[in-house]
């Protein structure tokens, strides 16, 4: 994930809120700090109108949407496979 810092992503939360913004930092719990955010969908969630930067707790993230060209999916798949195998052992 650290290679994605500085990229624009959309984070979909478990409470159905989708937040678009620039990835500022990520930590071991997958907490995400984002800058310059805006609410993507129909802004029926106006609560964030005055918020420009936010910290999102890892446990409430459902998905992180990435543009396909930001990630070398082959590399990612290999790395994920390796980790899964390590965890099984």
């Amino acid at each position: 994930f650290k290679s994605l810092v500085g990229k624009d992503v959309v984070v979909e939360l478990k409470n159905d809120l989708s937040i678009c913004g620039t990835l500022h930092s990520v930590d071991q719990y997958l907490n995400i700090k984002m800058t310059d955010i805006s609410v993507t969908d129909p802004e029926k969630y106006p609560h964030m109108l005055s918020v420009k930067n936010c910290f999102i707790r890892g446990s409430v993230v459902r998905y992180v949407q990435l543009p396909a060209d930001e990630v070398d999916t082959q590399l990612l798949q290999d790395a994920a496979r390796k980790e899964a195998m390590q965890q099984k052992q």
Partner: protein
Amino acid sequence: MIVYVSLHEPDISLTSVIQGTVAIVTSDGRMIVGTLKGFDQTINLILDESHERVFSSSQGVEQVVLGLYIVRGDNVAVIGEIDEETDSALDLGNIRAEPLNSVVH
């Protein structure tokens, strides 16, 4: 991209947000605005001057919930940094919206 989980690895720094006004979204879908005084590893928060913003067909900042609050990290979903200028420009009386959903696991 193998993530080495290490206890020495610093967490994302919330120190930049400390002392500022923040909007907390809780796991039950509530929004609380206050001044962030402190935090820890599990994102337990110390919030001063907290009031809840309830959204419905007729909006308004609900009340001063508690002067000083400790919110347990488990219940924190989002911490948003509130920009003073934008926030004062916001006419709270005019906003009509549905309440936030609660976090479903």
